[in-house]
């Protein structure tokens, strides 16, 4: 699709905003006319979704105790409430 001077291609920042649903409508309308930007945007949206779905991993059981064994705690806990 050709780029109209009054409706230029989306910048990488705008593509990112569109993928997050945050691009203002006046710019998002460009995607209705530009297959190139739409394809880039859809790939970006898929990538961001896949990244956001990556699991968090945890260390082996007992990690807190292993850390605490090596930390210098200056005063014992008496009245802490989590």
């Amino acid at each position: 699709m050709s780029e109209h001077p009054h409706n230029p291609h989306l910048t990488p920042d705008e593509i990112e905003l569109w993928a997050q649903g945050l691009l203002r409508a006046a710019r998002a309308i460009h995607l209705a006319e530009c297959r190139e930007c739409l394809t880039t945007g859809e790939h970006e949206r898929k990538l961001q979704r896949d990244l956001a779905r990556l699991p968090r991993f945890g260390p082996e059981f007992g990690f807190v105790e292993r850390v605490m064994a090596k930390v210098r705690v200056q005063t014992p806990s008496g009245n802490f409430r989590p």
């Binding site: 968090r56 991993f57 260390p59 990690f63 807190v64 705690v73 802490f80």
Partner: protein
């Protein structure tokens, strides 16, 4: 919580470790792709954080401070063990994915330990492989932005980089990921 920890309350220390152990471990694990090593580096991170908590300045987000220490631990390790880095990423001087692949070491025929097998299972998806192919600076930016959800400004603070550099790294990292995942997303 941080104030309690600054006062030396053992329970506050434990709670901070519990809150941040998974995000810190995940970041470091994805940076070094070795479970045992990631656990050592995550431990090192928390020991530095807790022993140095009185030097924490509240004008920074606490999570940014922890991630800065964790990322530094991972990057320092990757620099110290340049040979290991080569095995994952190719030469640090490589400018293109092809150059990185051409300079990467092959480690065929090595016996996998049980922890290696766990890592293969956990980090075996196509997107994890694609992330692993990014150079460490891009990888850290992408993980902090899209997995941990930090803003560009926070990432600049965590990585001690100018804001423009962070934006560039993230854009380049995402472009590389899209290339590596081409076909997968079709």
């Amino acid at each position: 919580m941080v104030e309690w920890a600054k006062d030396g309350h053992d329970a506050a220390f434990r709670e901070l470790v519990r809150r941040y152990e998974r995000p810190v471990f995940s970041l470091v694990y994805r940076m070094v792709r070795d479970r045992a090593l990631a656990e050592d580096l995550a431990q090192e991170t928390f020991i530095k954080v807790l022993n140095g908590i009185r030097s924490y300045r509240p004008e920074f987000k606490f999570s940014s401070w922890i991630f800065k220490i964790a990322n530094n631990a991972a990057i320092d390790h990757l620099r110290r063990r340049a040979l290991d880095t080569l095995s994952l990423d190719g030469s640090p001087h490589a400018l293109t994915p092809d150059e990185m692949q051409a300079t990467a070491l092959q480690i065929d025929g090595q016996q996998e330990s049980p922890l290696d097998e766990v890592a293969s299972r956990e980090l075996g998806s196509q997107i994890e492989h694609a992330i692993a192919r990014l150079r460490p600076e891009y990888r850290a930016c992408i993980l902090l932005r899209h997995v941990e959800g930090h803003s560009y400004e926070e990432i600049a603070q965590i990585l001690d980089l100018p804001l423009g550099t962070v934006k560039t790294y993230i854009h380049r990292g995402r472009n590389e990921l899209r290339v590596y995942l081409e076909g997968v997303h079709e």
